[in-house]
């Protein structure tokens, strides 16, 4: 169980996240596609009213400078420039920026276009690398052409030079190798002419793939689908992105990217924004984002428009190397841009940009490959761990793939119905085939390239780390003096030392390893502090325990095991926290550090709270927390005096200390790679070697010491995980062979009648009646009075109690009664009392009472006796709503439910802590009982539940009972040393003495009454009080059962084991036989009846439920199964660990038989057929 479930939970969480992510992705994509189609339709309609010839001929057309940077384009540059010069546009200059090409580009241009160097005063409005020369043509035909020769500085720098030189109002930035449609600029510039109060700051165009197209004289003559696979699949990709994506963003006015290959800009705004950023490889996107941000921050109305006509054709990468590099660059560019402008992330100040565009880019465009990749890695591990539900996986995979297909098919359809560039039917077919193959090969490659981009980003961590701090607002254009580029400067092409991109030779595995190590180095310091803080928490816990209860048993051993268990937890927590830290660290270092610090402090606070709980209750808190209602918790915590100012201040102090430690110490601890590696190896080694799971098995011996040694947080988390992700018995619950009875002859078996429908229904066994031999028959039906004393454990009650008996009256009564000294409660807390004792009911998932409205129809002692004309009543000093007891009693037709609320004036409540009290003490309860009883008719069956001996053990007249406690210790002959130890629990003992005294008063008062002589008293504990240290797991359930009545013929003491399950079957069978009461002949009791063997034995096979959340204990014969630990129960009801696989299997099988039946009930199964229920129903 426990930590082995971590991968499962991790798996569930990952699955859920991936599912949500992909669902959102699908929805977002569909919405965008639809919106985009609508936008394109509108555009086409508007276009039908536009005559671009008008624009071509007009003198009023805006002036445009085309900027085309070129680097080593010698082979094609002359043709490319010719293409640019042939564009239809009257008010145009074409600026070719030779970015320090190492080939003969410039020479070719000079020759082809008869260029000559001219004097030119460059106004460096944007700081750039040096301009070496400006060339213009001697031939007036080429007067539009300006060629700039500059020192190499990258694309952004080249474009910035172009901006500095451009003399027109608008800039059109294009890749020099692009082929533009003749009317491309006319269409591109039209939005600028349509602006009204919204300033159009930029306009983007569609880029299409030109591979295999026929181009003559720089003009696109014929469009063809690329013959090669890579360009073809990119064609599909571009169609999808442009047709089904961009238009939507433009329509929303949220367009963040204008392709660097073709975009138009308002020069004024570009200059105000400082031009292209040469620190990022995503300069095209960055510029648009910055321009938009500029407008948003000045609250000026603006638009970024988009032209869906295919205007620009470009050569797509045809080899994997180049494509990989391109995608790698895109990833880095996107990341850098988003990081530079992270201020806009979900920032309403930036409108659509901040709330939609940016998050979309972040979550989908940037994160999608990363999430996909991580998903694949996780899938790989889950598959190895056998956690994958393959049928679900394949369905899911198919769904995603088919969504992709549908999306591509839709894009192709839209292309055909709108622009229809690929007119041949075979082209469309080939596009569809390409779409089918895409997810399996091309897509994986693209994702991997993006991941490589992320890796490159991490390697250059320092570089962009500084860049991100540069920020937008502070960016200033350095005042650079204008420089005259003279015609006499040498034009030789100088090889530049600045290479734009250098190849990376380090293998990826090594890179990842080094990265992990770097994060690990940072993490080590925090791990040390976390370990220190957790050990400090343990120190506090021990201090409190020593202060409250004195030295525990086997102190040294317990301490050692405590530390080992803590170490185990520290290892697990450190490793577990590393994963989110790692992920966050890559996203944002500071967030990762803050996250880790906050989580560490929370972990310690949890640890301290759980320690406090343990000190108060002596039981480690498990998943109980989750099954109590908020009110229940408030009452319990409030009543136990949980939180006060001192505790709060101490916690605050602890938090301050932790913060200081986390702030200072990690900075001092700076391990090298070797140390970090060693630490990592030690931790993973400990985890893998099974040290952690073994450490949890080590126990000092006595239950209380065992509990003290447990790491409380570890225990709490493990139990909570078990609670939220229960391990169902992995069997078919209806399989008949599993329902077969045990083979052991000594165990009582039921004759089940219809196991499939009513899993617990069996024939009533007359042997359950063990009372008849001991009772005289009264003239009238006897009254039944059941007294359940809160926390009354055998450990301190009755002869031979191992802590010494603190119930002198009850002991004396036992001597006159039928006394079962090895009796067991069914629950470790009060929640199990009523259903087990009065109705022998199964636990369902969190105790039968917790089912409330879902309780199946059932019969109980109350309902059957009521059916036989008994009066029934329940008396309780507390609030009967606690644990839904009132609901259960009402369901069973109990007539008198007397609880706290019924106590009018004249009754004194117990002392309150923090304003909380459980209600009225036992003496007041009994006083109230007699007050009510006078009016009661006979016969009656009354259930009295006390509450004074419950945590916080505050009783009225406390001093008197503290004195009695001292006197009792004297009477028991304790030495001073022993007394000193017992005084640590003096309030607990005093409350028991009080309860005993109350029972004495009750019986004495009863003796005065006429109904006394035909009344049967059953006295038992609801469970053993856990706030006095326990000896073993079974100790928690070990309570006495005393059956006292004037009708008894003889007294007897029994050593055999029975439980609360057995009381109702026995009582009813007895009343049936001796008083001819009507009882059902088939029942669903879990109990077979009390065993009246005088010697020690156990003929039952019963589950026991310690807390509301786990059914973890099972007894069968002389053995008890606690989780996976098997114990032999000795005659003193102590546990001795045994190791016997066959026996263990037998008990597990028995336990499973119960669980299977119980599961049926949990799932809405029934306990009784209507015929029986209706006959005896209240």
């Amino acid at each position: 169980m426990t930590w082995s479930t971590i991968p499962e939970i991790f798996f569930e969480v990952i699955t859920a996240l991936v599912f949500i992510y992909s669902a959102l992705l699908v929805i977002v994509y569909v919405l965008i596609a639809l919106y985009s189609i609508g936008g394109t339709k509108n555009y086409l309609r508007k276009n039908s009213f536009t005559d671009y010839r008008l624009l071509a001929a007009s003198p009023h057309i805006p002036s445009v400078s085309v900027l085309a940077p070129a680097y080593n384009e010698g082979k094609t540059i002359v043709e490319n420039v010719r293409s640019l010069l042939s564009i239809y546009y009257s008010n145009l200059e074409v600026i070719i920026i030779n970015d320090g090409s190492k080939d003969d580009s410039l020479v070719q241009l000079i020759e082809a276009y008869q260029l000559e160097k001219v004097d030119f005063l460059v106004n460096y409005q944007i700081h750039t690398k040096e301009v070496r020369g400006i060339y213009r043509s001697k031939n007036p035909v080429y007067n539009k052409l300006v060629v700039v020769d500059k020192v190499n500085g990258g694309k952004a720098d080249a474009l910035n030079v172009g901006i500095n030189i451009a003399s027109n109002d608008y800039l059109v930035c294009i890749d020099v190798d692009c082929v533009l449609e003749q009317d491309a600029l006319l269409k591109m510039m039209k939005p600028f002419m349509e602006q009204t109060d919204e300033r159009v700051i930029a306009s983007g165009g569609v880029v299409r793939i030109a591979n295999s197209c026929i181009i003559e004289d720089g003009r696109l003559v014929k469009v063809k689908l690329p013959d090669d696979y890579l360009p073809r699949v990119q064609t599909l990709e571009y169609i999808r992105a442009f047709i089904l994506g961009r238009m939507a963003w433009s329509r929303l006015n949220g367009l963040m990217l204008i392709s660097g290959a073709f975009g138009a800009f308002d020069k004024d705004i570009v200059l105000k924004c400082g031009g292209y950023n040469h620190n990022t490889v995503g300069e095209d996107m960055e510029l648009v984002v910055r321009m938009r941000r500029y407008m948003e921050e000045r609250k000026e109305k603006y638009r970024v428009t988009y032209i869906p006509d295919p205007l620009c054709w470009t050569e797509a990468p045809a080899t994997y190397t180049i494509l990989g590099r391109q995608r790698n660059r895109w990833t880095r560019g996107t990341y850098e841009t988003l990081m530079l402008h992270k201020k806009m992330f979900f920032n309403p100040k930036y409108g659509i940009m901040g709330l939609l565009s940016y998050p979309y880019w972040f979550f989908y465009e940037l994160s999608a490959p990363l999430i996909e990749f991580l998903g694949f890695v996780a899938f790989f591990f889950f598959a190895i761990a056998g956690l994958i539900d393959w049928s679900f996986f394949f369905l899911y995979l198919l769904m995603i793939i088919f969504f992709g297909y549908a999306y591509s098919a839709f894009a192709i359809l839209m292309e055909v119905t709108s622009y229809n560039m690929y007119r041949r039917r075979t082209d469309i077919l080939r596009l569809i085939l390409t779409a089918i193959s895409e997810p399996f090969y091309f897509h994986s490659f693209v994702v991997w390239s993006a991941i490589k981009g992320f890796i490159d980003l991490l390697k250059k961590n320092k570089g962009w780390g500084e860049m991100t701090r540069q920020g937008f607002a502070k960016k200033t254009t350095p005042q650079v003096q204008p420089v005259l580029v003279t015609a006499t400067t040498a034009t030789t092409v100088v090889a530049s030392a600045d290479l734009p991109e250098r190849e990376n030779k380090q293998p990826a595995v090594l890179t990842v390893f080094l990265l992990l190590l770097r994060v690990g180095r940072k993490y080590t310091g925090f791990a040390v502090v976390l370990a220190m803080l957790l050990l400090l928490c343990r120190f506090v816990e021990w201090g409190l325990d020593l202060y409250t209860y004195g030295t525990p048993l086997f102190a040294a051993k317990t301490l050692m095991i405590s530390v080992l268990q803590d170490a185990s937890f520290i290892v697990k927590a450190t490793v577990a926290l590393f994963i989110p830290f790692l992920v966050l660290y890559f996203i944002h270092k500071k967030t990762a550090v803050v996250f880790l610090s906050v989580l560490s402090i929370l972990l310690c606070l949890t640890q301290l709270s759980l320690s406090e709980y343990f000190i108060k209750t002596l039981v480690p808190l498990g998943a109980d927390l989750w099954s109590y209602s908020w009110n229940d918790i408030r009452q319990t915590v409030g009543a136990s005096g949980g939180i006060n100012i001192t505790v709060t201040l101490l916690l605050l102090l602890f938090v301050l200390l932790s913060v200081a430690a986390l702030a200072v110490i990690p900075k001092k601890i700076k391990p090298g790679n070797a140390t970090a590696l060693l630490v990592a190896l030690v931790y993973t080694g400990l985890l893998m070697s099974g040290f952690t799971s073994k450490a949890e098995e080590w126990k000092p011996g006595p239950e209380n010491s065992n509990n003290l040694a447990i790491n409380k947080t570890n225990f709490f988390i493990a139990k909570s995980l078990e609670y939220f992700f229960p391990m169902e018995p992995d069997v078919d619950i209806y399989a008949a062979n599993y329902l077969l009875s045990p083979t052991d002859k000594s165990i009582v078996k039921f004759r089940y009648t219809d196991e499939k429908q009513y899993p617990f229904l069996h024939v009533t066994d007359s042997s359950a009646d063990v009372f008849t031999p001991f009772f005289d028959t009264a003239a009238v039906h006897p009254n039944i009075v059941i007294i359940a004393v809160e926390g009354l454990g055998r450990a301190f009650c009755g002869d031979g109690a191992y802590l010494g008996s603190f119930t002198p009256f009850i002991d004396s009564l036992a001597g006159k009664s039928l006394y079962w000294e090895n009796f067991l409660s069914e629950g470790g807390r009060t929640f199990a009392l009523l259903p087990s004792l009065t109705a022998s009911l199964p636990f369902a998932s969190n105790g039968f009472l917790e089912m409330k409205g879902h309780m199946p129809d059932h019969l109980s002692l109350f309902s059957i006796l009521k059916n036989n004309h008994y009066q029934t009543g329940f008396y309780y000093g507390g609030d009967s709503r606690f644990d839904n007891m009132d609901y259960f009693l009402q369901r069973n037709g109990v007539e008198h439910i007397v609880d706290e609320a019924a106590f009018a004036g004249g009754y004194t409540k117990m002392p309150a802590v923090n304003g909380f009290t459980w209600g009225y003490d036992d003496k007041e309860l009994f006083r109230k009982y007699f007050e009510t009883l006078t009016a009661a008719k006979e016969p009656y069956c009354n259930f009295l539940l006390t509450v004074a001996s419950h945590n916080p053990f505050l009783i009225n007249n406390e001093d008197v009972y503290l004195q009695k406690f001292e006197a009792r210790m004297n009477a028991l002959g304790f030495s001073d040393k022993v007394k000193q130890q017992y005084r640590n629990y003096k309030y607990q003992y005093a409350s028991i003495l009080f309860a005993d005294d109350a029972v004495r008063q009750l019986i004495e008062q009863y003796r005065q009454r006429p109904d006394f002589d035909h009344t049967v008293f059953l006295i038992t504990g609801d469970h053993r009080m856990p706030e006095i240290p326990m000896n073993s797991k079974i100790d928690r359930y070990h309570v006495p059962l005393i059956v006292y009545s004037p009708l008894l013929k003889r007294r007897s003491t029994f050593s055999s084991v029975s439980t609360h399950f057995d009381i109702t079957p026995t009582l009813l069978q007895w009343l049936h036989r001796q008083y001819a009461l009507q009882i059902p002949d088939t029942v669903s009791w879990l109990g077979s009846g009390i065993d009246s063997s005088r010697s020690f034995r156990n003929i039952h096979a019963y589950p026991l439920m310690q807390t509301k959340t786990d059914i973890n204990d099972f007894i069968m014969g002389d053995y008890m199964l606690n989780g996976s630990d098997l114990y032999k129960i000795n005659t003193r009801l102590e546990l001795e660990p045994v190791s016997n696989n066959a026996l263990e299997e037998q008990l597990k099988a028995g336990f499973d038989r119960f669980k299977i039946r119980n599961t049926v009930i949990i799932n809405g199964g029934r306990l009784l057929p209507d015929s029986i229920f209706k006959r005896f129903a209240p």
Partner: protein, 327 residues
């Protein structure tokens, strides 16, 4: 469905195209004579898609043809009773259908529809009002410009371009300067800009002073156009007027003034331009130097002397201007 429609259109095209072309080009001298419409075409033309095809063909031909052919187109349009279709479209609630209807009606010279079309000049939809405004000009020439008195929405640069283009098809109205003067006081800034453009385009010299008043308008774009217009209407006072106005302008308009002075400047502006050579703004410096060198007699020599006197400051400027003007 799509395929069916595509094929149907194709078949109609095959059947009708040649006939339409022929009909348009037929020289029907007799005004009263009607087209002969073969029965099978009448049948085909009962279909809406087919009729729209014919309308589209006629519209696109009409845009390119004038004279007899143009008249034939209109005649064919009327005889085939296609006007009914256009009117139906004009009542559509879909903007693009309505705009299309308007376009068809004015292109087919259905002048009786002028009033109905006029009602749409202030339509909320940009394209409907654009077509309506264009239609008004198409049908009533310069008189149609009276819609400028009431137009409520801004006229985009694009629309202005379209209107100017439409006006070119009409004979210039002798004197519409009074109207221009009125529009120059419009509350709609784009109407002022358009009026300024009209003044420049049709050389309405008499509005020079009114255009000059527009230099004091609050909208920079209005002033920008005013400067441009003043260049076209320039008289002996304009250059000084602009030079005096220069300090009050924004950067964009200052640059424009200097460009204008490059064309219309005279000796009177020598000092003004000379002073500008000393400003820190290189763009202004270069433009001023260009104007000085080009417009002012002896300005080039002056610039050269200044560059020698202040080589740090002005030699680069001089060389730049020299290269740019190919002096």
């Amino acid at each position: 469905m799509l395929k069916y429609r595509f094929l149907y259109k194709k078949s109609i095209r095959n059947k009708l195209e040649v006939w339409i072309t022929q009909s348009i080009l037929d020289d029907i001298s007799d005004e009263g004579a009607a087209f002969e419409i073969p029965e099978k075409f009448r049948r085909i033309l009962q279909n809406k898609v087919a009729r729209q095809f014919v309308i589209d063909e006629l519209v696109s031909s009409k845009k390119n043809l004038t004279g007899t052919a143009g008249n034939n187109i209109v005649k064919l349009y009327e005889e085939l009773d296609l006007k009914k279709d256009s009117l139906e479209k004009m009542s559509s609630t879909q903007w693009y259908i309505k705009a299309k209807g308007i376009q068809e009606l004015y292109l087919m010279d259905q002048n009786d529809m002028l009033k109905r079309i006029y009602k749409n000049i202030n339509s909320r939809n940009e394209y409907i009002r654009m077509e309506a405004q264009t239609g008004i000009i198409h049908m009533s020439g310069f008189d149609g410009l009276r819609f400028l008195d009431v137009v409520a929405y801004p006229l985009t640069e694009w629309q202005q371009l379209k209107l100017l283009d439409q006006l070119k098809l009409n004979d210039v109205k002798e004197n519409f300067s009074q109207s221009i003067i009125r529009w120059l006081t419009s509350h709609n800034d784009t109407v002022i800009i358009f009026a300024l453009k009209l003044a420049a385009e049709y050389q309405q010299f008499s509005v020079h002073n009114d255009a000059a008043r527009a230099l004091h308008h609050t909208n920079g774009n209005v002033r920008y156009q005013a400067i441009k217009t003043l260049k076209r209407l320039a008289n002996e006072t304009t250059a000084s007027l602009l030079a005096n106005h220069f300090p009050k302008e924004n950067q964009r308009n200052r640059l424009l003034i200097l460009e204008v002075l490059t064309d219309i400047g005279s000796v009177e502006q020598t000092n003004f331009l000379e002073n500008l050579l000393n400003v820190k703004d290189i763009t202004i410096q270069l433009k001023a130097a260009t104007a000085l060198a080009k417009a002012i007699p002896g300005g080039n020599e002056l610039l050269y002397q200044k560059a020698i006197a202040q080589p740090d400051l002005l030699s680069a400027v001089y060389l730049h201007v020299k290269a740019a003007l190919k002096l």
